[in-house]
Amino acid sequence: MKWLYLAWKNLGRNRRRTLATLLLTAVAVLGIMALSGFALYTYESLKEASMRKEGQVILSHPDYFQREENTPMELGLGRVQQLQQELQADPGIDTTLAQINFDGLVSNGEKSTIFMGQGVQPESFQRQGPGVDLKQGRWLTPELSSQAVPEVLLGQRLAASLKVQPGDGLTLLGTTTKGVLNALDVSVRGIISTGIPELDARLLKVHLQSAQELLATDQVSQLGVYLQNPHQDKNYDQKIRDQYPELGVTPWQERATFYQSVRNLYNRIFGVMGVILLVMVAFAIFNTASMSVMERTRELGTLAALGTRRREILGLFIQEALLIGLLGSLLGLIMAAGLSLGLYWVDVQMPPPPGQTDGYPLYIYWSPWMAGITSLAVVLFAVLAAGLATLKGINKPIVEALNHV
């Protein structure tokens, strides 16, 4: 305690220099917290979107995600209704949503173009949240009337390409599971956007039953399982795998390639930037400690003459750096919390990422875990830098130190 007291007193010797080092440390901590906070927000958003997109656990034919189908629904999933009933009886499962992935041609009578179709249960729009944006018209009706013309949602660029508006008619051409061409007249219910222009140029969503009618099948491509507590139930896929060993059971993480890629990329970019900021802190503290040792060389000689051990003198300088590291970290964490809160009040929009059309709001998460890690790293770098800077000073012979001018 007495050394810490002396270290605290020593910080007041050159207040301007101490303040400058403290502020640099705080700004570095703010930088690390802002970068990591932005990355964490991005991870969390992408994770949420990935979990909502297809379900937290996806059931399919065992080979469905492993190889391409030769004919539509060659690797389809049968007895879907029974599966859905069984799964929905499980209290840990909120709901299940089936989906068919298919492709074909869509024609307005004058022009035909390729589409990438999804036969969906309309509840999926609520589940998927803000991932898909309705630009015109309405979402698909929850129940499909047997008399009504089947409805579709078209990607914005696909609708523009076909020059159709909600209410216009189109014809879908697809191949049945037996390889026979089939056609289905549909009406445009709405125009949607995923924010990815390439996807919007091909995307078409239709009721699951309409897709099954076009493909002449009662199978589906995949069955998404939505859990009651998706963030807590980490190993639900294993439970379902044990329950249905004959099916392919895929956790959402294995399907979330975009999420994983962004995470890997950001971890590297922000990791390197974080290390650079830490090295800057280390240099600043090394500089401060070096100057302090040089200015106090004579005093170091006095302390040594009075019987202070070398490791005690080293400890004194390390504690000074420790205090700067701790105070700088604390200040930086407070500044980061202020920034994080401020961004909730002030709407700052990020520009659209490459390949997308829409920007997104900038938020920065303030993570206690990250705050702890950052403070620890800053303190560790500060202590190492101060230790290195002091070693030379304390190894000087006492007489030489006492005669230092």
């Binding site: 007495k2 002396l6 007193k9 020593n10 007041g12 010797r13 004579r298 005093e299 006095t302 302390l303 040594a304 003459a305 009075l306 019987g307 202070t308 051990r309 070398r310 005690e312 012979p397 006492i398 007489v399 006492l402």
Partner: protein, 226 residues
């Protein structure tokens, strides 16, 4: 019995490419309760001899005994422990720690020794009263005059009741009146605390206070009892 006995001590420094002898064949004894002065012009080697006595420098050759124990200058840890517990220092320019109050400066050696807070407080108060600067206990060194600072430095040297007090030009930075007061104080307290007192000085005003006076000339020691 002498506290410190030095026999045939030699010390030289490298100046450029040449080795320059500073102390040659020094024999010296320091006794507890006695004040010994090392007198000589600048560069005569008195500070070097003083530093060796205070265990902050080491000889090239020769023998030194602390009471009847031969000194091992290769053991830094042992030398540090001896300085910590048994040697007090008074420097020409006081060398007080500027961020600590007078009382904290005086308390520092006891702090190092690990004394209790109450014991430190008592000892500091006593010694500050003895050197007559108790009223400045809470002042930082910068707020004190030269004489007051040197009194605080003497208090810091004596507070642990050392066996040896080493003073390098203790009056050089003081005016005549203050120098005499400080010399008298050192003599008085040195005797009271029963420590051997060795002073390097070229201040003739100190001679009347010394029990032994040695003249250093070109690395050779001459003289003895005053």
């Amino acid at each position: 019995m002498s506290l410190i006995t030095i026999q045939q001590l030699h010390k030289s420094y490298r100046v450029g490419k040449q080795q320059q002898a500073v102390l040659t064949g020094i024999d010296l004894q320091l006794h507890q309760g006695e004040m010994t002065a090392l007198i000589g012009p600048s560069g005569s080697g008195k500070s070097t001899l003083l530093n060796i006595c205070g265990l902050i420098d080491q000889p090239d050759s020769g023998e030194m005994w602390w009471q009847d124990q031969p000194m091992d200058f290769s053991s830094t840890a042992k030398l540090t422990e001896l300085r910590r517990r048994r040697i007090g220092f008074v420097f020409q320019s006081f060398n007080l720690i500027p961020v600590m109050s007078a009382a904290d400066n005086v308390a520092y050696p006891l702090w190092l020794r690990g004394d209790s807070r109450a014991a430190i407080k008592r000892a500091v108060q006593t010694v500050l009263e003895e050197v007559e600067v108790a009223e400045f206990a809470d002042q930082l060194p910068d707020a004190l005059s030269g004489g007051q600072r040197q009194r605080v430095a003497i208090a810091r040297a004596l507070v642990k009741k050392p066996q040896l007090l080493v003073a390098d030009e203790p009056t050089a930075s003081l005016d005549e009146e203050t120098a005499l007061v400080v010399a008298a104080l050192m003599k008085k307290l040195g005797r009271e605390y029963g420590c051997a007192l060795v002073i390097a000085t070229h201040d003739d005003r100190l001679k009347p206070w010394c029990d032994c006076i040695y003249q250093l000339h070109q690395g050779v020691l001459q003289g003895g009892a005053a």
